[in-house]
Symmetry: none
Subunit: 202 residues, 4 copies
């Protein structure tokens, strides 16, 4: 009986709310996401949500962070280009419409809520598993003599995410195979070579 469910509190209740928010996000997207709907879906009330988070943006950020996917291992295809394509494609797959709408929405509100901006910026600037993956791929390429030894600056490590997100947000559509190819072949591979070359010529 649903009426007999003992009253939830603390962490358990919080989890239920974040789950509800996440489901709501997937179903209607950020723009149509409503605190009321989340409360209803979670079987709780608005006050409980407002007691914990300051508004839609913070709630959604929290729900997002609870649902960060575990980063899978990096494919080892034997080629720098293929490794990168696989990585970019993987990132692209995660940057689906919901994700981007959410990021755009949260960004929109971030301009009025510095702490949201801070949390979001931190999250986007340090996609730790991704930067690791980039280093691994580059190291392999160097080991294979496909690339001169090169130190990859942090900004370049996070570049794949930035490029994909930028692409998929400005297009409002999933990033196609061709675009991934273009980003790898026209931007990222040349950039790595450029970094290696400039370093070498010092």
């Amino acid at each position: 009986m649903s009426g007999t469910r003992s009253r939830r509190r603390g962490a358990q209740l919080e989890q239920a709310i974040l789950d509800a928010a996440w489901d709501e996000l997937r179903e209607v997207g950020y723009a149509r996401l409503t605190i009321e709907a989340v409360a209803a879906r979670a079987g709780t009330s608005k006050s409980v949500i407002y007691r914990r988070w300051d508004g839609r943006a913070e709630l959604v950020l929290a729900a997002w962070f609870r649902n960060l996917p575990v980063e899978p291992v990096v494919a080892d295809t034997g080629t720098l280009r293929e490794d990168l394509r696989t990585l970019f494609a993987h990132v692209a797959r995660r940057a689906d419409s919901m994700m981007n709408e959410m990021v755009a929405g949260v960004m929109g509100e971030a301009f009025r809520h510095p702490e949201v901006a801070a949390v979001l910026g931190e999250r986007l600037a340090n996609p730790s598993p991704l930067t690791e993956a980039v280093r691994t791929i580059v190291d392999r390429a160097v080991a294979r003599d496909e690339l001169p030894p090169v130190e990859v600056p942090h900004r370049v490590q996070r570049l794949p995410l930035d490029l994909i997100r930028n692409e998929s947000m400005t297009c409002g559509a999933p990033v196609s195979e061709e675009v991934v190819a273009s980003l790898v072949d026209e931007v990222y591979v040349p950039l790595l070579h450029g970094l290696a070359g400039l370093r070498a010529s010092d």
Copy 2:
């Protein structure tokens, strides 16, 4: 007397509305921009606005396009690096808080309005004056023998804008001098060299 102002119509009225929208955008930002407020400021009524545009996003896009700044000439500093820094800084200056909030907001709504997505994507993908500027700068560098001859793909031509916008949107703050330097030195210059080198080795 204000009551005696002859009733506006057609293009004149439209311009008044777009001006009002633009002013409103600058004063309160996209998130707080209201059709009602725009109508009030323009001294007209909501119906008149809804007759012309489908909603906030389309209205704001229209106002934006009326206020695209004229692209100033490209500085000629004598160095690729300095030319690029000047260009990036120029782009950064225009990517102020209002602009980014607007872009984020419109993006957010674009996911539900394909035609908005199309218009916005087109606008962001083809910042014509900018791509021209990039070509000019690169050509000069090649002419100075600072750079091997290189063909700059379209994706790389628009990259400055993407990088700056990405940076300023994810940070929610104006792009600092250091970040511009980092983008130029760690990304764009190496990329150009990489493109030149790979091309040469074909």
Copy 3:
């Protein structure tokens, strides 16, 4: 089809709201009456109500005034006492539970809303049909020589209503036959005689 009902405006809409309020009053009483419920029952929205009235009290007052019963003619029983009993009983019948709860509720809010107090006070102090009835009854009694000629002050004219309302509000129950008898025999008839006697002795 209900969906095709043309949008109501002005007086028609107002009437629908007041009807809804009145029905709600009768069903759940003042204390449980909710603006939301009235709006729902009237098939309109809260804004429409708030645009017209300042709150629950004013809405209910308006509904009340639309539903003031027409005062029936005064019975002519041949006796002052019987005429008065009939009148008091008639007043008592109208002072039902709903009415009293409403009056008490509105009074409660009147202390914070002077304009409500004014409207309510005016209404309670000048129950015009009632004062007429009192005069008629007294005049008949004088004509029958049941009572010396007497001028009935306004305060005494409205006394029946005050007594009945007081009784029924303090008891929270309909005014019984015995109480009516007591009010007439112990208070009102003696009072009239006293007024006549004092006047005569001037």
Copy 4:
């Protein structure tokens, strides 16, 4: 240190709560009085209050009964009219805005809570010190030969309170000197004479 105050219980705690309720009543009035505020002011929690009283009305009634003023002695001015005026004025002074708002509020809730209605009705119908006062005043007048011997029914004994309360509740304002005069001269004195006269003529 406030945190060190030994935990109160029983009568002491109850008194603290009723004091808090009374203070709250005086400061914000009945309509704005909340259980939460009373609990906060008393330094206790809502549960403790709900364990003892059923709701706002009962709490306030209890607080009221703890604060019934001691009835002062009756002035002896030498005239029936002046004695009555003094008495009425005294009653009027106690029927201040707070008191009336409270009575109206409690009345409003009494319609849904029979036991509240009972307690309130009992209290209003039997204002013992007042009825005594009336008797004293009448007896004195009879002794002075200002009034024929008269038996004052209970209903008439409580009438001063009813008249004043009625007046001050319907007006939402303190009862003026003029109104007191009118109640005495147009209602109460004639009524007493009427009662005496009718009795005499039996």
